[in-house]
């Protein structure tokens, strides 16, 4: 027995040391994660010439509509140079899934754009067709608005209608009089030559199928807003897609309804997915390695690490020599420091907008001066603002129920100084809920710019009854002007801005206590005890995302969070003005830009006068890329950095 324990000990010790080592070496053998590589499903290279012939007319039409991105690059005429041109992008997030209907990550759209590009682009706050020759409108007959007569007794779950923004599924409370409601029908015609990477042509059936998936109860789509307001998306013929809304749904963004509630605007292949139960889709191989129809197809996907794309021979513009590079690799990096370090070392060629912030601006500017990199700073759709609680939800008296006090805040806070000092002057001050380059914006001089004017602020406050007390802080009827300011914790920019505002308001006699709180758990918490939703604040700074559609609806009376609407609603200042509601509601009931523009301008003017919230500035999107890279043009209103990934190119020294 005396020998036995020793051997046992030696064996165990060796095991403890060796097992991890062996396991580790085993890992070394097969590089990285065992994620399968795509087998390009029988890419029929011989079919390509046939497709080319029919593509000519379609290609011309695309070029005409794609001007914004094409500017930056040379015309894509010649064949790409032989060799292996690879371009590497770096972001500091990774997609949660490539199955777009289930994704909740903004990285998914960025990545999917390379192999299943959105069928529309959103450049310059407009929609442009990608998979279609043109977008439907009343003028070209693609959109039809009919008035239908509905008998309230016929309204049911299967036949809902939309009245005053509410989906109604029962006519019980609507009386017996027939209702006259507008009903929209829109049609899109698919461009010739679009095919999936396995050679199967894309048809209208794919769109109808994507709609069926979208409305399946087992697919975890984020919302069913448009689905609830849609009768169906159907294939009229092989190339024609038709969407029909429920009676009463006048949708100003009808042009995107070829797919609904899908922020990537991409389509899924029926022939690949149809045999699978919708509930099983998310975790299937073909959902993690989807079939392409865009310029690239997936060669390798290492979740959380990187995705490698190679040229898709079936791409409908392949005959034009597109895409310009042979492969694109998107790397998902751990943090901004890595994005910077890898840009510097040349491990990545482009640092995308999800990853670079103004914290890196000084370094990036140095590189730009040295000529190694180019940098783009684009004031984009995310806008910071300060909500002022006009009526608090917890019954406390408000400081901002008087419009003069809110205007005084606008005069007393030097927003230009904030932009200059905190944001390096790289963005612009806003005076309405939309940026100045939006499709509707008041003419110069029509908006009050509220240039910094502390005397004007003091005068307005005095008019409203606020006069300096013994310690210099304003008082009114024995109440001190001492307010609670909230914003999210851990955001350096916001903390700096808050401190500047605190100092500036101190100068006009307002005492402000800063509260930096957790975002989702406190500031944006739902329900009565949330800071914003429960209206338990005096001032709160956070951001909204503007889009192609205006944000005017944020300030409607119906959006005020109250006990009646279960503290939902997006109007935490509790601004409620009949004049504003009357104008703004019309904006959302009209289809054509020319009708909507004057009304929207009117609602911006009312907003600017009443200042329910003080707009600060547009956040900046930053992209940096090494000299020699072309085709990068960050656009303020797009949801992806590269609306035209096929235009990306690189020339190395």
């Amino acid at each position: 027995m005396s020998n036995h324990p020793r051997r046992f000990f030696a064996w165990l010790l060796a095991l403890t040391l060796l097992v991890p080592l062996l396991a580790a070496c085993g890992g070394a053998g097969e590089p990285a994660a065992p994620a399968a590589t795509t087998e390009a499903p029988a890419a029929a290279a011989t079919e390509a010439p046939a497709a080319e012939a029919t593509e000519e007319p379609a290609a011309e039409a695309t070029e005409a509509t794609e001007e914004p991105a094409a500017e930056a690059t040379e015309p894509a005429a010649e064949e790409p140079a032989a060799g292996d041109k690879t371009i590497i992008l770096g972001y500091n997030q990774f997609p949660d899934t490539l199955f777009t209907l289930a994704s909740q990550s903004s990285m998914t759209s960025q990545v999917v754009q390379f192999f299943q590009p959105g069928c529309v682009t959103l450049l310059d706050y407009e929609f442009q067709p990608v998979c279609f020759d043109e977008l439907p409108s009343l003028d070209n007959g693609g959109l039809v608005s009919e008035t239908v007569t509905i008998n309230p007794a016929d309204i049911s779950d299967e036949n809902p209608v939309l009245i005053n923004g509410e989906v109604i599924t029962s006519g019980a409370e609507l009386g017996t009089e027939p209702l006259e409601l507008p009903q929209l029908t829109a049609r899109w015609t698919l461009k010739d030559g679009i095919a999936w990477q396995d050679g199967t042509p894309m048809t209208a059936e794919d769109f109808a199928f994507t709609y069926q998936l979208q409305t399946s109860p087992d697919v975890p789509v984020a919302t069913t807003f448009t689905a609830d307001r849609t009768v169906a998306i159907e294939a009229v013929d092989e190339k024609t897609i038709q969407w029909q809304g429920i009676p009463g749904f006048v949708d100003p963004t009808y042009v995107t309804n070829f797919v609904i509630d899908n922020s990537s605007y991409n389509v899924l292949p029926k022939h690949v997915f149809e045999s699978v139960a919708p509930g099983d889709m998310v975790n299937q191989d073909f959902a993690t390695l989807p079939v392409a129809y865009g310029p690239f197809q997936i060669a390798e996907y290492l979740p959380q690490e990187s995705i490698t794309f190679e040229r898709n021979p079936e791409y409908w513009r392949a005959s034009e020599g597109l895409p310009k590079v042979d492969s694109v690799i998107i790397k998902f990096l751990s943090d901004e420091d890595q994005v910077l370090a890898q840009l510097e070392s040349g491990d990545i060629d482009i640092g995308g907008t999800i990853g670079l912030t103004l914290n890196s601006a000084d370094t990036l500017d140095e590189w730009q001066e040295a000529g190694t990199h180019d940098v783009q700073y684009v004031p984009a759709t995310v806008w910071e603002h300060i909500d002022m609680a006009i009526e608090r939800g917890d019954g406390q008296p408000s400081f901002f129920d008087d419009v003069r006090v809110r205007q005084a805040m606008a005069y007393g806070i030097n927003r230009q100084q904030i932009v200059d000092e905190v944001l390096g002057g790289r963005t612009v001050v806003m005076n309405a809920f939309q940026p100045e380059d939006y499709w509707a914006f008041p003419a110069d001089g029509e908006l009050n710019e509220y240039a910094y004017d502390p005397e004007q602020a003091t005068a307005l406050l005095a008019e409203a009854g606020w006069t300096p007390g013994a310690d210099g802080i304003l008082e009114k009827e024995g109440r001190r002007f001492s307010i609670q300011f909230f914003t999210t914790e851990g955001n350096r920019t916001r903390e700096q801005v808050a401190q500047i505002i605190q100092a500036q308001l101190q100068e006009i006699g307002i005492e402000m206590e800063l509260n930096f709180v957790p975002a989702t758990e406190v500031l944006f918490k739902n329900g009565e005890d949330g800071i914003l939703q429960g209206r338990r604040y005096d001032m709160a700074m956070y951001a909204w995302i503007a889009g192609v559609e205006p944000s005017a609806n944020l300030y409607l009376c119906s959006q005020v969070p109250t006990a009646e609407n279960n503290w939902a609603g997006q109007n935490p200042p509790a601004y409620c003005n009949e004049e504003y509601d009357a104008v703004t509601n019309q904006v959302y009931n009209l289809l054509e830009r020319e009708d909507r523009t004057p009304l929207l301008i009117e609602s911006m003017k009312i907003f600017n006068r009443d200042i329910p919230t003080l707009p600060l500035y547009q956040r900046v999107q930053i992209a940096a890329f090494r000299t020699g890279v072309t085709g990068v043009e960050i656009n303020p209103s797009t949801y992806v950095d590269f609306s035209f990934p096929e235009e990306l190119d690189i020339t190395l020294e």
Binding site: R6, A28, F99, D261, K331, E521
Partner: protein
């Protein structure tokens, strides 16, 4: 021995059961949840309605009462149809006792959490294994040497180095290495890639020529910096450990006796002293076992080495509870196993310790 093992196994299961409840309870107490992010949307078209939220909860299994959520996690819900009052909660989950650990909510939506962990495991074991073995291989001789030659120049040097290593924040050391490496690059000297597990594209290094992407050599180049950081950290602590333990043994009577008998110094140190000083070392080695699996959160983040440490911290941040829970349960298992292993080893190294 057998009774000991049986009793210990029983204890292990109890510990694991209790820790699974604690893990579940703690995550339940975290404010917010996986649907928070969905609600931060201003566009009414993309903001989920109450009905949407109910649908998401049902798909995630969060519509059940809390105690049933725990039961589902552990034992599944495919049998619930047979139980009165629970029939409505029947689903297709099998529960972790039958190998179904659930699907990731966020990090890799819809993917089996064990698959997510498995996919990152080889890289984790490689990084942690190499740095652990390296640390031990250097720390043990270094500790022995500085104990035997106490107050020598080398002992002082090792001590000073240890304090440096212990007090150095990992992320700072990592960032410094990266910037020094990039400064070398600027000079046109040899440098190391600042991050990643392997490079996706061939690259040139001064003095080495072109390095093939994803080759073994590429992998080694990418491992140098993170392994160095981790090794320095462990090395500093473990050599102190070894030194203290050796010093204590070397002062004991039987060592003096051995020396007095005329046993060679080498044998005294390596046979008589070392074996008796091994107990703390065993503790260290056993407790590295869960560490091998856990990865190194900061080092992985600084060097963009996406292994389990990074996955875990991301899952925590995104409130991907199934992934976090799987991670913690596996971690708890490994700790329990490592402890048992340590006890067995103690008994073999030191005959005075009996397993009863």
């Amino acid at each position: 021995m057998t009774t000991f093992l049986i009793r210990r196994l029983g204890q292990m299961f109890t510990v694991l059961f209790v820790s699974s409840i604690v893990i579940y309870g703690i995550l339940l107490a975290v404010p917010g949840g996986p649907l928070d992010q969905l609600l931060q949307v201003s566009d009414p078209r993309q903001r989920p309605s109450q009905a949407d939220i109910e649908r998401h909860k049902r798909l995630l299994g969060l519509d059940k009462p809390v105690y049933l959520q725990y039961v589902t996690w552990v034992a599944g819900d495919d049998w619930m149809g047979a139980v009165p009052f629970w029939a409505q909660y029947e689903g297709d989950r099998k529960g972790l006792i039958r190998g179904d650990w659930g699907e990731s909510w966020k990090v890799q939506r819809g993917k089996d959490v064990l698959a997510v962990i498995g996919q990152n495991l080889p890289d984790t074991l490689l990084l942690m294994g190499i740095s652990t073995v390296l640390s031990l291989a250097i720390a043990v001789p270094l500790g022995i040497y500085s104990a035997v030659r106490q107050y020598s120049v080398l002992d002082y040097a090792v001590t000073a180095f240890s304090f440096f290593g212990i007090s150095m924040p990992v992320f700072w050391l990592g960032l410094m290495m990266i910037s020094v490496s990039l400064a070398f690059r600027e000079q046109g000297w040899f440098y190391l890639p600042p991050g990643d597990i392997t490079a996706p594209r061939d690259y040139k290094l001064p003095g080495l020529g072109t390095v093939d992407a994803k080759s073994t050599f590429d992998r080694i180049l990418h491992l140098i910096m993170p392994v160095t950081v981790l090794t320095l950290l462990n090395l500093a602590q473990w050599s102190r450990f070894m030194r203290a333990s050796m010093l204590e043994v070397l002062r004991q009577d039987f060592i003096r006796t051995a020396r007095a008998k005329g046993v060679r110094e080498r044998v005294v140190v390596l046979k008589h002293a070392l074996r008796n000083a091994l107990i703390p070392l065993i503790t260290i080695i056993s407790l590295t076992l869960p560490g091998l699996f856990a990865g190194a959160i900061l080092t992985e983040t600084v060097f963009n080495y996406k292994a389990l440490g990074f996955t875990y911290i991301t899952a925590l941040g995104q409130k991907d509870w199934p992934l976090v829970m799987a991670f913690l349960v596996i971690q708890a298992m490994l700790i329990v196993i490592a402890n048992l292993l340590a006890d067995l080893l103690y008994a073999t190294v030191d005959p005075r310790i009996r397993l009863v």
